[in-house]
């Protein structure tokens, strides 16, 4: 059961250097053939400064840093009962190879809800605001973790 007293808690920042190969690996796993993600020339031609990170790239720093796992453990959530309910991104700037991005995870809210079938669940909203090495906001990721009870 999620510890509701921890709403508002901020976790240590995720610092992640964006590698060209990691972008290519992610689009290759997705099977996305769009050349802007893997061919620098194609990206420049389309008006980018380099190969941009694809829309769901921010799952990479979050997963490798283990920030969700850290939050789940700290919040006292039972891992076996966790569902990934929602994921949402807001994009402010492109993320390019060589960028060093820093994400600060924050627990926005923890609410108990009851489903139509009468089952209770804790809905935990975590936001990670990412900035780049110039201090510019690049994106915000919001994850809804659902803990079934």
């Amino acid at each position: 059961m999620a510890d509701k007293s921890k709403a508002g808690k901020v976790y240590p920042p995720i610092v992640w250097e964006v590698e060209r190969g990691k972008i290519r690996e992610l689009v290759s796993a997705i099977g996305d053939p769009n050349p802007i993600y893997s061919d620098r020339e194609a990206a420049l031609k389309e008006g980018y400064q380099d190969c941009p990170a694809p829309p769901t790239f921010l799952t990479v720093p979050a997963m490798f840093a283990g920030s969700m796992a850290t939050a789940v453990v700290d919040l006292g959530i039972n891992f076996a009962m966790v569902l990934h309910g929602e994921e949402e991104y807001e994009y402010y700037r492109e993320i390019y190879p060589g960028d060093v991005i820093t994400g600060v995870p924050k627990v926005m809210s923890i609410e108990e809800k009851t489903s139509k079938s009468g089952r209770t669940m804790d809905m935990v909203n975590v936001e990670i605001l990412y900035t780049n090495q110039r201090g510019e906001k690049v994106a915000k990721a919001r994850t809804l973790i659902v803990e079934r009870k």
């Binding site: 990691k22 690996e25 992610l26 290759s28 796993a29 997705i30 099977g31 996305d32 769009n34 802007i36 389309e46 008006g47 980018y48 941009p52 694809p54 829309p55 769901t56 799952t59 990479v60 979050a62 997963m63 490798f64 076996a80 569902l83 990934h84 309910g85 929602e86 994921e87 949402e88 991104y89 807001e90 994009y91 492109e94 919001r142 809804l144």
Partner: protein
């Protein structure tokens, strides 16, 4: 062909994208690429032990990745401002995922369009629903 704000009308369908059938190998690739090493997605024995009778299930974020592919094949990545999904069903190896989308709103200020998106399998079972917002260039 560049998509302009003026060419988009409410109700316009995004070109659909069909992905699959999904293979377990793609789960392994996605685990390594994304860093999501939850064995629920790659280890049949583990998945069965936690109640998945057919074995592993697909990473929800891989299915969201398919939707990202569909969106940025239609709208340039740099125009995408917001993208969110709600996961509603489990995807399994062998499923073929079809991503569809439709324009539900457009705002002249900022030349912004809002679209709803759905990913479903070959039986029509919905895996996720969501939305995105994009700012499109204007013919001015």
């Amino acid at each position: 062909m560049e998509l302009y704000f003026e060419d988009v009308t409410v109700g316009l369908q995004m070109p659909k994208l069909v992905k699959g059938p999904l293979a377990k190998l793609q789960h392994v690739m996605y685990a390594g690429a994304s860093g999501d090493f939850n064995p629920l997605h790659t280890d049949d024995d583990f998945a069965k032990a936690v109640g998945m009778t057919d074995g592993v299930i697909t990473h929800g974020m891989l299915v969201m990745g398919f939707v990202g592919q569909a969106i940025t094949a239609w709208v340039p990545k740099k125009n995408l401002k917001k993208f969110g999904v709600r996961f509603s069903g489990m995807t399994k190896p062998g499923n073929t995922i079809t991503v569809t989308g439709k324009v539900i709103d457009k705002k002249a200020s900022g030349h912004t369009i809002t679209c709803e998106i759905t990913a479903q399998d070959e039986t029509g079972d919905i895996k996720l629903t969501g939305h995105f917002e994009a700012e499109l260039p204007s013919r001015g």
